[in-house]
Symmetry: C3
Subunit: 100 residues, 3 copies
């Protein structure tokens, strides 16, 4: 079976940031995404903070290049000011051209 | 610690397909699964389409062989006709025999 | 871009176990976590069992060392007696010191 290696970028944030984050990742090349509700306790800057409100988990499968641009964007615009978690992982998909 | 390498297959689809997809993955050897609600914007065939309805995310941890069969099944039966996203990733579990 | 390799540990369990599991993973060094609702059919001991009640999926990003301790704890305290699924995967994060 012919699989292609892609990156999944996952962003956990306050639900108030949903519209902004979706616009940003689409502008950087994401062709699709899913949003799930989550709650949690997390990191704010260097220290732990409770964010017990409504949070969302956005996930998008993108090329390595787009993944890097999304991570840079989160780092530059969000990571110092907001309770945001972002991580990248490896995934394998069928018909990779659909994600580019 | 003795961990075993397995595959996680994740399928995102319209919630109307839940029963069919669960039957299919169990027939191919999946011994368990989780279902979560998700919303999103995604891919339909080669072009982008909005699927703003209720979607589900099905995840199952299986052997590499079962993972490949599930991916083939999704490709052959669903991928061209339905708004379905499927991807595979590597996971490590305790007591791998429980997943076989 | 400077990324750090970490482990994501995911635990799927009955929602009644939420408080205990969160306490355990924090005691072992987890600095944050997310909780999502899930339903599923799964594994109980060696045999398949339906757990159609309310389930939760807890995910935490931790060092390899903490990941191993969490897996050991789940194996020793929960895996034989409860319907629990646990798995580990590789993730890459920005500013890894926030997760240590």
């Amino acid at each position: 079976m012919n699989l292609s290696a892609f990156k999944k970028v996952t962003i956990i944030a306050d639900d108030a940031m949903e519209t902004y984050l979706i616009e940003e990742i689409k502008a950087l090349g994401a062709r699709g995404y899913t949003i799930e509700e989550a709650k949690g306790e997390g990191l704010h800057g260097a220290s732990i903070t409770d964010f017990q409100g409504r949070n969302i988990k956005i996930a998008t499968i993108v090329s390595a290049n787009t993944a890097e641009m999304i991570l840079e964007m989160i780092k530059d615009k969000y990571l110092s000011q907001f309770s945001v978690i972002v991580y990248m992982s490896d995934v394998y998909v069928i018909r990779g051209e659909r994600f580019m």
